[in-house]
Symmetry: C2
Subunit: 130 residues, 2 copies
């Protein structure tokens, strides 16, 4: 009962790529389109929207006006370079102990969080492109 779904397949594949864990829709569309010889933005959008509905990916906001996505299991914090825009994952679990403190401070039941550091990456500070 299912037609072939090259776009969706490619999108799922890209999220499995080990060297890249955060994607915007247009970034996905560009790569998928190159692989398949054409892919519409809306098809990629629907692929990602579907994965989001299934709980496979989470939408994250990096402050550049576009939506970004990552595998839910990959969840971690991010740091973005103010100069070149590169986004790198922050290792570790900064907020492990903070969550319960915030819960008792605010009365909220916390279901998720999103943390973004900004700064200058080593490359940019080396080349003085700041």
């Amino acid at each position: 009962m299912a037609p072939p779904s090259p776009v969706r397949d490619e999108v799922r594949l890209l999220f499995s790529t080990p060297d890249r864990h955060v994607w915007s829709i247009d970034e996905l569309q560009q790569v998928v389109s190159a692989s398949l010889g054409g892919a519409d933005y809306s098809s990629v959008f629907r692929a990602v929207a579907g994965m989001q509905r299934e709980g496979l990916v989470d939408r994250i906001d990096l402050g550049d006006g576009k939506a970004h996505f990552e595998l839910r299991e990959d969840h971690h914090e991010h740091i973005r370079c103010d100069s070149c825009g590169r986004v790198v994952g922050v290792p570790g679990c900064i907020l492990e102990n903070a969550t319960s403190a915030v819960e008792s401070d605010t009365g909220f039941t916390i279901t998720s969080h999103q943390l973004l550091f900004s700064g200058i990456c080593p490359d940019c500070s080396a080349t003085a492109h700041n």
Copy 2:
């Protein structure tokens, strides 16, 4: 050499309001427009953009697709209710010690951060509107 600037004045005033520290442009526009008997979205936008250029306010992203702003001196973390959308400030300085650890882990020089918790606020969990 300056004409009157009722919109800008109102916007600055609203950011000084103690009971509200996070504003989106359309929220500002609505209140300013009510106060002045009319105010264009673009005028409010330019007022906020000006304040941002002067470093008076910071743009923050609450994940609802709209830009929000707060006084720079007010900077702190936020927690948003998944159910009603209410945003409340998180007291305390969760990240005070984390920043230098992240810097040495990533090699970045950190200039700022933005943290958003999501969860269910006390009111919503009380009224079971979850």
